[in-house]
């Protein structure tokens, strides 16, 4: 082999580096497509949702704090009645309550599956949990309607429809998601953490509580936020049990409504481009923005919690 050939082979891109470039381009292309989808959805929802404020001249503050939702009629001053406060409160109430109820259960089950009995966990709990994700929300809704609503009616009074029933249904719906993500978080804690703790003479519970859970706080928080986002965006099942009354909820057992339930109910009945339709898109925009705020709040709490 003469010098020229060696030089050429050294200066030429190797097969591996070509491969490398190829890989980078392919994977970059994939993420570009996803980003394009994300951006177009944001643009799409924002352009429709903001039309209520720019095109139909609804006051943003009135939209957020008004309590009467009746887009086809106008109030005494001739402004359309699009007050979203009852739905905003309803959405937040069911989401937070469901998350508060579901979190301890999810963490408990996840700890059981990873620390106490991985065998039962993987053989029994995990398949069942994955299966539950596949049950359509309509089915959850119908079970809610035929089991949860009568239960609430007999136990707590009222008609049975309301935030409490919504909370129960959402609790069962987000439990699988939160649990399986928490399991992932616990599994990613390195084994030597546990071994070190046990070697120091800590009991299993002390290891779990003081080492494993502490080490996976951020993962658990992500799981809970994810579950809350799902609860916030869930439509069909909640719509069936919450009652859909656009009133400010005064207690947990009177009919209320959520952003999604109003959105799903109204979409087919309104005409594209009309105010009633645009107002619904504004609700969709709210739905997009809210999880963002959850994220920020919970991350902030997580950071503060992690310091101690």
């Amino acid at each position: 082999m003469n010098n020229d050939e060696i030089r050429a082979s050294l200066l030429k891109r190797s097969r591996a580096s070509k491969n490398e470039l190829f890989g980078k381009i392919i994977s970059g292309l994939c993420i570009a497509i996803i980003v394009a989808v994300v951006v177009s959805i944001f643009y799409f929802v924002a352009s429709k949702g903001l039309a209520t404020f720019f095109h139909d001249k609804v006051n943003l503050w009135k939209f957020l704090t008004g309590t009467i939702w009746n887009p086809s009629t106008t109030d005494a001053q001739g402004h359309p009645q699009v007050g979203a406060l009852p739905m905003i409160i309803g959405s937040f109430a069911v989401t937070f309550l469901a998350a508060i109820v579901a979190t301890p259960f999810a963490i408990g089950a996840a700890v059981f599956m990873t620390e106490i009995s991985p065998r039962i966990g993987r053989k029994v709990l995990q398949p069942v949990i994955e299966l539950l994700v596949g049950i359509p929300s309509v089915v959850y809704g119908f079970i809610g309607l035929s089991v949860v609503v009568p239960f609430v009616r007999h136990t707590f009074g009222g008609s049975g429809f309301g935030i409490l029933s919504g909370t129960f249904v959402l609790f069962v719906m987000i439990l699988p998601t939160v649990t399986s993500m928490t399991v992932d978080a616990l599994n990613s804690v390195p084994r030597n953490y546990r071994e070190a703790s046990l070697a120091l003479g800590a009991t299993r519970w002390q290891t779990i509580y003081k080492v494993v859970l502490r080490a996976s706080v951020s993962g658990i928080i992500t799981a809970v936020v994810f579950g809350m986002s799902r609860a916030f965006g869930e439509a069909l099942a909640v719509q069936m049990v919450i009652g859909n009354a656009m009133l400010l909820p005064s207690n947990l057992i009177s009919p209320a409504s959520t952003l999604t339930s109003v959105l799903t109910m109204g979409m087919g009945n309104s005409v594209m481009g009309s105010l009633s339709n645009n107002a619904l898109w504004s609700l969709a925009l709210l739905l997009l923005i809210m999880p963002l705020i959850f994220n920020i709040i919970i991350r902030w709490i997580g950071k503060r919690g992690a310091m101690h």
Binding site: M265, M267, G268
Partner: protein, 286 residues
């Protein structure tokens, strides 16, 4: 294995691209979109149509009257189904739309079976839905709170009910449901519940009420003695042509009107003794 996978992927994407580019498909089809109440009827008629004329397909979609009217106005479908006159919907310019009234449907108030009341006056009914009467005791029933279940804003059934019962009074904020199936299930299972629904959906799980002594039957609707009814509309953008025209004619033919429309609980248009205009003027049909 990788090669096979890639070939498969390539073939699929080729197929998608080919068909996506609008390579001429064999067969002919039109799409009808809109009112979910009208959907089963049009679907049944469409199935029959395909059986009789192989290769011609009717695609029937729900989505609500609002969607149907928006889409027919935008020209993206051939037929828009609606429970309402296009003129009643804000945001719709009805000028270019041609109305085909294919059936009539009556709407009846329904209550939970445990409520022993059989008859109400029109004004009592209106007072229940406006929130002025809140207990069945006031109407001669048991001491039981009235649970009002309304339909979603903008739904055709609610519009019909409000127009002929409320007559301009506003309904109170109450539970709302967007589908008849849900309403039926809730009224059947909730003590003291009252709502309203189209005749074809009424079954033994709940009870209908008479209004001022008139029973909600097809006969009474045909003579307008029972006033709470509406037309089911199928709109086309301009005069229907080709397959659309053929299908519209088919759905208005006697066979379909008798065997499907009547069978499903709707009232065939030709059985109506009266007609009613958009503004509510009633005239006898000779």
């Amino acid at each position: 294995m990788k090669k096979k996978l890639i070939t498969l992927l390539g073939l699929t994407s080729l197929m998608i691209i080919l068909s996506g580019c609008g390579l001429k498909q064999s067969g002919e089809s039109i799409t009808a979109v809109g009112s979910s109440a009208l959907q089963p009827l049009v679907e049944a008629a469409g199935d029959r149509f395909t059986e009789e004329y192989p290769g011609k397909f009717i695609n029937v979609q729900g989505g609500g009257s609002g969607t149907g009217l928006s889409q027919i106005q935008a020209g993206s479908v051939e037929i828009g189904n609606s429970d309402l006159y296009a003129e009643q919907k804000s945001g719709i310019n009805a000028k270019h739309l041609v109305d085909h009234r294919v059936a009539v449907v009556g709407v009846a108030p329904v209550v939970n079976k445990k409520i022993p009341i059989k008859n109400l006056t029109l004004s009592q009914l209106a007072q229940i839905f406006s929130g002025d009467i809140t207990n069945w005791q006031k109407l001669g029933g048991p001491d039981q709170k009235i649970v009002v279940i309304n339909r979603a804003q903008g739904s055709g059934t609610r519009d019909t009910f409000e127009r002929w019962v409320m007559k301009g009074r506003s309904t109170m904020q109450a539970q709302e449901q967007d589908s008849t199936g849900m309403v039926r299930q809730i009224v059947a299972s909730t003590p003291g519940a009252i709502s309203y629904m189209a005749f074809p959906y009424v079954d033994q799980t709940l009870r209908t009420l008479n209004i001022d002594g008139v029973t909600p039957t097809d006969k009474n609707v045909q003579t307008n003695k029972w006033q709470i009814w509406s037309y089911e509309h199928m709109y086309t953008n301009g005069k229907p042509e080709g397959l659309t025209a053929q299908f519209m004619k088919y759905i208005l033919s006697d066979t379909i009107q008798d065997e499907i429309v009547g069978e499903m609980g709707y009232i065939p248009i030709k059985d109506m003794k009266v007609s009613r205009t958009l503004t509510g003027k009633v005239a006898a049909i000779k």
